[in-house]
Symmetry: C2
């Protein structure tokens, strides 16, 4: 019996890939997997398997796995479920290390025959030393290795690992995260998690030098102990954020029919995640916000927050959000106040933390200037900078002024050893020119690796969670 | 002594407006107010007051209020604070009913002299029968009457009233709300609320036939009893949503320096708002979401929710969100299941509520079809429809397919007597073509008055709040 692989290096970075059930139909997964390897510049051989086609997406096709001339590290399966047992045998014969089953319709259907077939596949693969990712999962996205489960995903590569039980959730996390500056490393959508469970992958990612931050979306875990051991190992070495779904009765019912997952109660999970050292997200939005905070911001040293920018209403709302997120809104220290007095004496006894941008008008002081003064003070550990873009829209030269303010803010945030979370609203305006402008300045900041959040509440939530363990 | 106005009709719909401190400088509020009246098509006479200019934005300018030939219903003041006492006298002489003080730097500065001046203005105006909106507020936005505090705001008119202590919060609520389909009626940013308090306005809006839904952002209320009486009167007749800010210590400190408001504790406010029949929002996002739900959705009759669309992960997340928001995720009733069996027998025992769109592929059933079946069933009171746009992006003809699906969904939602909350993600993708596409289908839906939310959590939150009082 071949030895069982303990490393997942060759899963995430295979030297060669075969696609069983590769298809010439451009509207099929069997076509997508092949085209994805092409689009992502996979450097090794790609072997589409299709008995009727000569080539697919420019790659020579083979009738069977047995006909492929070279070694195969990874087989991606898009064939129907009734062919998978035979495919496992073929993989064993060719000494294929990893088999990813995009193939679904197993235990998740609730059908006993389908669940039995899944168990037989697991047993046969285990005996043959073939490790299985899936079934019922989209598999791998790892741009640095040239592999993706969809041809249209972002090409940029980085160190953020992401494990997802759900395929559509993985796609959303990748695209939404990329739009906000996350650069992904090893991403796996593991579906039913038959063999390579999230626990197995967490163990692996804990020691993976490429991986700096780990996010995960789980509905249930097949191997509870392995999961929490993997989680503990990973969280001891890097930030790990977990979104546990299927917390409610209705959610658990839905999870069973999605990936046959047995979901647990919310409170037990929260406690267990905290004990393992993970950060808990309650929904996809929080998951992405926390991954962005953990990946893009320097590690915070404390909870004392400086807040600048936006008008008075925004200041009040930011203060509420900070305090309700466990941050400490420290009043302006005297050295900063004296600096203000030197430039704008009439404001020195009025201005506070948060800094209301609207009272600065005409004073020669800007909220970016205040941000610099406050970041330089020992009174603050972290900062939230509201851009307050709606004010700019009402002024002449809105484009130039907003761009200038954002460029300066980005320059400050980039060199600051203290985390600066930028707040720039979601692009919600009926004015199309304003939409384009907000998208432009946001893109310019995220491309520089600035952490941008659409509301002070979301920025404060992230900073609150990242500093929760600090005194 | 002139009688004191009890109706605010002529405040929100003045027949003539004078702008004291009108300016030829395009980068000033004194210019904005005049241009706004022009842009919004104000039908009555507009009188810029400026001793040095002949005309401003095409309107003949007058040196003093006394020089204006006709009656003046409303004076908007952009002059410095030290000229306001005299302006009140002039208003009294000309029998001006309403004076809006954009002018600030009164009690909000924390300066005792400024606070004393504010009190003198209040006393003098009360004695003279001149009612004051502000000071330190941007004033009125009422597109149906041709009045706005900024020239660049949306022109579309409707029945959603909005009261805001904060100017920048009012601008954000108007633009963000408009982008999502809200059509505003009477909007006032009342700043320090010296005379025309939110309580006075709530009393008025309660009986205002134009107003169908009321939203308000308050930091503190100068007249607690009047506020809650006005609130009770309004909430008895139409949905009223209140965002109380300055709930925390830091928030209350910030509110004092913003609009001199005395803010109270969070729990007392929550209780009082509930007892008055209002719906409480905890931040601007919730405030807008709730206003959209109240304004655009038919009134729900119960908490039993049908959820369709999106993949399995989205289904599990939607179920969690619904149950955690107090909704009841009722399993698929047998009549719907039998309808599914007739078309797709292999799915009949697998499919559930939420409906996982990904398992419908190739079955001849769509999530829109399921939505129609579920809306027709007595088992459901309300629905959440996930568009699941990321799936479409991965397919050929994404534009055509997504547009078709959204058009059909909009047609279903529009005629449904049960509320259908649509979930279409925020435009977060690095793919610019996808951004344009999502914006396009979202705009098409909101223009038809469909309530669209960017996540299932936010849709569920709104439906939970709107049905909280139902059994």
């Amino acid at each position: 019996m071949p030895t069982r692989n303990t490393s997942l290096d060759r899963l995430f970075r295979p030297r060669s890939v075969a696609v069983a059930g590769a298809s010439t139909n451009v509207d099929s997964a069997g076509h997508d997997y092949v085209v994805s390897l092409k689009n992502f510049g996979f450097e090794g051989p790609v072997y589409p398997i299709n008995p009727k086609a000569d080539e697919i997406a420019g790659y020579k096709a083979y009738p069977r796995l047995a006909d492929i001339p070279g070694d195969v590290d990874l087989v991606i399966s898009c064939i129907p479920s009734n062919g998978v047992l035979d495919l496992v045998s073929q993989c064993a014969e060719r000494n294929v290390r990893f088999l990813h089953l995009f193939t679904g319709r197993f235990s998740e259907t609730g059908d006993e025959g389908a669940a039995q077939l899944e168990r037989e596949i697991a047993a046969k693969a285990a005996a043959a030393g073939v490790r299985i990712l899936g079934p019922n999962g989209m598999g791998l996205y790892h741009p640095a290795a040239g592999i993706s489960f969809r041809p249209d995903l972002p090409l940029a590569a980085g160190g953020v690992a992401f494990l997802s039980q759900s395929g559509n959730n993985a796609v959303e996390a990748i695209t939404r995260g990329a739009a906000r500056g996350l650069r992904f490393g090893k991403v796996a959508n593991y579906g039913n998690g038959l063999d390579i469970t999230p626990g197995v992958m967490l163990h692996y990612l804990a020691g993976d030098p490429e991986t700096t931050v780990i996010g995960a979306y789980v509905e249930g875990v097949p191997d509870g102990r392995g999961f929490f051991e993997g989680l503990k190992a990973a969280a001891a070495r890097k930030p790990v954020i977990i979104h546990k779904a299927g917390r409610t009765q209705a959610g658990a019912r839905s999870a069973a029919s999605h990936t046959a997952a047995l979901a647990g109660t919310a409170e037990l999970w929260s406690t267990a995640l905290r004990q393992a050292g993970a950060i808990e997200a309650r929904n996809q939005e929080q998951l992405l916000d926390l991954m962005i905070g953990a990946a893009l911001l320097p590690a915070p040293k404390g909870k004392r927050v400086a807040v600048v920018g936006g008008g008075g209403g925004r200041s009040v709302q930011s203060a509420d959000a900070c305090e309700e997120s466990g941050l400490v809104v420290v009043p302006l220290p005297s050295e900063v106040r004296e600096n203000v007095r030197a430039k704008a004496p009439q404001l020195a006894d009025w201005i506070g933390n948060p800094v209301d941008q609207s009272i600065l008008a005409g004073s020669g002081l800007s909220s970016n200037g205040l941000l610099e003064l406050m970041l330089a003070s020992d009174a603050y550990d972290i900062a939230i900078a509201n851009v307050g873009e709606d004010w700019f829209f009402g002024r002449p030269d809105a484009d130039e002024r907003l761009t200038h303010a954002c460029n300066r803010l980005a320059a400050i945030a980039k060199v600051s050893p203290k985390p600066v979370a930028v707040v720039l609203g979601a692009t919600e305006t009926p004015n199309l020119a304003h939409r384009v402008l907000v998208d432009k300045v946001r893109d310019a900041m995220t491309e520089q690796g600035i952490a941008v959040f659409p509301s002070p509440e979301r920025a404060a939530f992230v900073l609150g969670k990242l500093t929760a363990a600090l005194v």
